[in-house]
């Protein structure tokens, strides 16, 4: 089992597979410019509403607080209310043998992701998080969090955390283990 973690390998694999299986029906040809690029931009909720919330920490075990709304902290990355986890649905990899940006041993880092803009109370900035699932093992079970700050319905899949985001993972294993929360951009 080789460990190609670069985007190149994964995307090439995905692309090859698509080319093999879909023939004439490429993505761009199918959906045109609808999904790609600028038309999506206004839809991303980057209004920093996170700062305005009156509510408390979101933790699956504390439904009252979760219902009140998102209020992030920047001290404990394994807690559900850590700011990067504002739209996570699943298990924090940092509790499963990984970190905030690395997958646990023996899993496969999917090249696909959903995104959210999360407010960091530490520096007052809003960052783009591209949640990436680590795949190919059973659900980790540790640090289960269901946060939905800015989360959109499935017909806006790029913002939906209900999807098993393992597309393009090694061996095409569409099986969810945990999620990492890397920063990939900053609200300008």
């Amino acid at each position: 089992m080789t460990k190609k973690l670069g985007f190149d390998a994964a995307i090439e694999k995905l692309s090859r597979r698509t080319a093999n299986k879909t023939g004439r029906r490429g993505f761009v040809g199918k959906l045109g410019g609808f999904l790609v690029g600028a038309t999506l931009l206004p839809l991303l909720p980057v209004d920093r509403r996170g700062r305005l919330k009156e509510a408390h920490a979101a933790d699956a075990s504390n439904l009252d607080a979760a219902r009140a709304g998102w209020q992030p902290q920047d001290q404990d990355p394994q807690a559900c209310d850590y700011w990067r986890h504002c739209s996570i649905d699943g298990n924090v990899c940092d509790c499963c043998g990984g970190t905030l940006t690395s997958c646990p041993p023996g899993t496969s880092l999917s090249p696909s992701s959903w995104v959210a803009s999360c407010y960091n109370p530490g520096d007052g900035q809003t960052y783009l998080i591209a949640y990436r699932d680590c795949c190919g093992k059973q659900t980790c079970g540790q640090c289960a969090c269901l946060n939905t700050e800015g989360e959109l319905p499935v017909y806006r899949p790029e913002f939906s955390n209900d999807i098993v985001w393992c597309f393009g993972a090694e061996n095409d294993d569409m099986t969810y283990h945990c999620t990492i929360s890397p920063v990939v951009g900053k609200a300008s």
Binding site: T22, F27, L63, R67, G69, D89, T148, Y155, N171, T175
Partner: protein
């Protein structure tokens, strides 16, 4: 044949099945008086009725799932059925059969993937058909409307997302997969008569797909019926009988459409909450958060006072309105953190309310709001209710 005859029979045969049979044979134990061995049998569930309810526990993205068959009349567990990762559970023929769409791997969560449909008899719980399908099921936290039976139960359909969007067509009379039908960027499946099925598209339109038995289709978009910033929840209510689609957004506005063979007819959106309630932060929230009693046209919405973007956190209240006029009929306090609700379609309806965190199904009288039963211990994170829509 009793256990006591067994040993002599085995001896007559002159061959016995190893240690397992040996241990079994010890039950023939002469130090005990030879009273009649109690008859051992296999249960068969009673025929489905309008108060039958199925609870699915997919865990939280786990590899195995469990479907509990529950008699809603008395909250008794009648049986269980197994399923794989993120299954779709569908009921047909007035609840007489159940179809489950499964995904399974041969090395626990790795290796070769196998997608298949199993059809169950809901009385014997036996598998009556096992249908292979392409490994294309769109794996999400279970959205009940991402797979469907046709209104005549002749076909079953499931959605694919990658590598290209498509709908898989399965023939339940021939028990075989037919074809992946290519679709645009649309989601969910709502069946309409005469081999039509509707999807909801990113742009806010409905797509009508008319298909033939070979999976050839013609596809027609409706008008856009909701604005971009009115986010429709992942679990609308849809009746395969009345073909009425009832779809709340994150703020409690309800969009409705009648889906026919000719096209989608949209109603004026209605608001569940008053302006005052909105100011008091009343919003819908949960998983299956809306249900409708078809005959009386009563709409039940799971809601609570909450912050923005807490649309999946459970709720403790149900608002009941007239689905045509929006008139407030009553408000129920459930006293539990409820993720999913569903109302029975008979004339003395029960409201089932499921708590994933408590792993418990609560049963309420839908008219009086009185709690009349509960079933606990339903696995790890049960949050899916399935009722026979066409019963009574």
């Amino acid at each position: 044949m009793t256990l006591f005859n067994l040993k002599s029979k085995l001896r007559q045969q002159g061959v016995v099945g190893g240690l397992a049979a040996a241990a079994m044979m010890t039950a023939a134990y002469p130090a005990f008086a030879d009273i009649p061995v109690e008859k051992m049998t296999l249960e068969v569930a009673p025929p489905s009725d309008s108060k039958r309810v199925y609870v699915t526990d997919p865990g939280h993205f786990q590899m195995t799932s469990q479907v509990f068959t529950i008699d809603g009349n008395n909250n008794k567990i009648l049986g269980m059925s197994d399923a794989g990762k993120l299954p779709h559970v569908l009921l047909g023929d007035k609840g007489n059969f159940m179809a489950i769409a499964n995904t399974w791997y041969d090395r626990i969560a790795r290796g070769n993937r196998d997608d298949y449909i199993e059809v169950f008899d809901t009385q014997t719980h036996d598998v009556t058909a096992d249908i292979d399908i392409p490994e294309g099921r769109f794996l999400t936290a279970v959205f009940t409307h991402m797979a469907t039976l046709s209104t005549d139960d002749k076909h079953m359909m499931f959605q694919q997302f990658s590598p290209v969007p498509a709908v898989g067509l399965v023939d339940l009379e021939q028990n075989q997969f037919v074809k992946m039908m290519d679709t645009p960027d649309c989601y969910h499946l709502f069946p309409a008569p005469e081999q039509n099925v509707y999807m909801h598209c990113r742009d806010g339109s409905m797509l009508r797909i008319n298909y033939d038995d070979e999976g050839n289709s013609t596809q027609t978009h409706s008008k856009v019926f909701h604005p971009e910033d009115s986010y429709l929840v992942n679990e609308p209510y849809y009746s395969d009988v009345t073909n009425r689609l009832v779809w709340p957004d994150y703020e409690g506005r309800i969009y409705q459409a009648k889906l026919t063979a000719d096209g989608a007819e949209f109603m004026e959106p209605i608001e569940v909450f008053t302006e005052e309630e909105k100011a008091d932060r009343w919003r819908p929230g949960g998983w299956q958060l809306v249900t409708v009693h078809n005959d009386t046209n009563e709409l039940y919405l799971l809601a609570d006072q909450r912050g923005e973007f807490t649309h999946k956190t459970p709720s403790r209240y149900v608002f009941v309105i007239d689905a045509d006029t929006g008139e407030r009929l009553r408000k129920m306090e459930l006293n539990h953190e409820i993720d999913s609700i569903a109302v029975t379609q008979d004339d003395k309806p029960y409201l089932f309310a499921l708590s994933a965190n408590e792993q418990t199904l609560y049963t309420f009288d839908a008219k009086t709001g009185k709690k009349i039963g509960e079933t606990a211990g339903l696995g790890r994170y049960p949050h899916i209710l399935t009722l026979p829509q066409d019963s009574e």
